[in-house]
C-alpha cells in the first residue's frame, strides 16, 4: 500500500467511524446535537472525497468543540484516537513537504503501536494481570460488563488466566508484527479480534471502528520498513 492509498483508506475508515460515533448522539441534548449533526454531514463529504483538505479542518475544529463541550473526551481512548488521526491527516494535507507528511503518518503508526505495547507493558508488570485476578475483578465488580450474565465469567479462573495472557501477549508483542507483511496481517487479525471481544463483553464498539481507521498507517509503515531492509 503506497502513501496516497494509505491516506485515502484512513480517510474513508475515519469517516465511517465518525458517522458511527456521531449517530449515537441523535437523541441527545440540543447542545450536543449541534456539534454531531454537522459532523455527520462533513464526514459524508470526507467519505466521498469532496474538498478533503477543508473538510478535515472543519472536522478537527468540530472535534475540539466537542472536547470542550464535554470538558475532555466523551469516550476516553476512542476520542483521543479520533482526534489524533484528525490532527495527523490535517498536518499531512496542509503541508506540501512529502518528508513532513510521512513523518506525521509515521507518528500515527507509532502511536497505534504504542497503544497496544504500553497497554501490554502495564499489564505484564502487574502481578494481578499475570495471575488473572485483574480480569476476574473486571468481571466481578467493574462497571464495564455489559450484562449480568457476562459477570458470571468471574467463576472461570482458568479461562480468565488464558484470556489475560492472550491479551497481554497480543498487546505487548505487537511491535514485532513489523517483521513481515504476513506477521502484521496476523497481528492485526488478533488485535481486531481483541476489539471484537471488548465490544461483545464490555460494549466498547467505538474503539473497534476508530482503531481500524488507524491500521492503514501500520500497513504503510511495514511496507516502508520492508523497503529499507531490502535496500540494506
Amino acid at each position: 500500500m503506497n502513501f496516497d492509498q494509505a491516506i485515502r483508506l484512513t480517510e474513508i475508515l475515519l469517516s465511517i467511524s465518525l458517522i458511527q460515533q456521531s449517530f449515537e448522539h441523535k437523541s441527545s441534548f440540543s447542545n450536543e446535537k449541534r456539534h454531531f449533526i454537522p459532523r455527520i454531514i462533513f464526514s459524508l463529504l470526507l467519505l466521498l472525497g469532496i474538498s478533503t483538505k477543508w473538510v478535515l479542518l472543519i472536522l478537527l475544529i468540530l472535534g475540539l468543540l466537542i472536547l470542550n463541550r464535554f470538558q475532555g473526551p466523551y469516550n476516553g481512548g476512542c476520542d483521543r484516537m479520533t482526534l489524533l488521526i484528525l490532527c495527523c491527516l490535517n498536518f499531512i494535507h496542509f503541508t506540501q513537504n512529502l518528508l513532513l507528511q510521512e513523518i506525521a503518518f509515521l507518528y500515527l503508526a507509532l502511536q497505534v503501536t504504542m497503544s497496544y505495547f504500553i497497554a501490554g507493558w502495564v499489564k505484564i508488570t502487574n502481578p494481578d494481570w499475570r495471575s488473572g485476578q485483574a480480569l476476574k475483578d473486571i468481571f466481578h465488580f467493574s462497571a464495564y460488563p455489559a450484562s449480568e450474565a457476562i459477570r458470571s465469567l468471574k467463576e472461570h479462573p482458568n479461562f480468565l488466566f488464558m484470556l489475560s495472557w492472550f491479551t497481554i501477549l497480543i498487546e505487548f508483542l505487537f511491535p514485532l508484527a513489523f517483521f513481515s507483511k504476513v506477521i502484521l496481517y496476523i497481528a492485526l487479525g488478533l488485535v481486531f479480534s481483541f476489539h471484537l471481544g471488548n465490544t461483545l463483553l464490555f460494549g466498547f464498539n467505538r474503539f473497534l471502528w476508530i482503531w481500524l481507521a488507524a491500521y492503514p498507517s501500520l500497513i504503510w509503515l511495514q511496507g516502508k520498513i520492508q523497503v529499507l531492509v531490502n535496500y540494506n
Partner: protein, 147 residues
C-alpha cells in the same frame, strides 16, 4: 483557547495505559422525591440487563448510544471524586433527568438527588463506600430541551 489546548495535549501525547490497575468502580444511584424530607430507597441508574440477545449484540457494534452515555457518566462520577466540578455534577444530573423523562416519569414539582458509590475488592469480599452525594434539586418542569 488555553483550556482547549490543555485538553488537546494528552491527545497528541497519549499515555495508552488501559486497565493499568483495577481501581474501585463507581455506580450512580438516584432518587426522585415528592418532598425534600421523603425517605425512599435509592435506585441504580440504568441497571445493566440480565442478558443481551445475539441480535442486540450485533446491533451494538454499530449503535450503542445508551451504553456509551453510561460510560461517560461513569467517567464524570470518577472525576467528581478526583477533581470535583460543577460540570460533572450537572452532566450526571441532566442525564438522569432525561432518563426519567424517557422512561415516563413526571418530574414536575419533584426533587432529584444522586449519589456515587464505589465498589472495591478487599481480600475476597466486595465493599462499598458512598463517596459523593449531590445537592437536592427542585425540579420545576419536565422539558429536556432546555438541559
Amino acid at each position: 483557547m488555553i483550556k482547549t489546548l490543555k485538553l488537546l495535549l494528552p491527545i497528541l501525547l497519549p499515555s495508552w495505559q488501559f486497565f493499568k490497575e483495577i481501581a474501585p468502580s463507581p455506580r450512580i444511584e438516584f432518587r426522585l422525591l415528592s418532598s425534600p424530607n421523603e425517605n425512599i430507597n435509592w435506585q441504580e441508574f440504568r441497571p445493566r440487563p440480565r442478558k443481551i440477545s445475539l441480535l442486540s449484540n450485533i446491533l451494538r457494534f454499530f449503535y450503542n448510544a445508551e451504553w456509551n452515555e453510561t460510560m461517560y457518566m461513569i467517567n464524570c462520577a470518577e472525576s467528581l471524586i478526583i477533581e470535583p466540578s460543577q460540570h460533572a455534577d450537572t452532566e450526571i444530573k441532566m442525564r438522569i433527568k432525561k432518563y426519567l423523562i424517557t422512561s415516563g416519569s413526571s418530574l414536575e414539582n419533584k426533587f432529584l438527588e444522586f449519589r456515587i458509590i464505589f465498589i472495591n475488592r478487599k481480600a475476597s469480599d466486595l465493599e462499598t463506600h458512598i463517596l459523593y452525594e449531590s445537592s437536592l434539586e427542585e425540579l420545576t418542569g419536565d422539558r429536556i430541551d432546555e438541559l
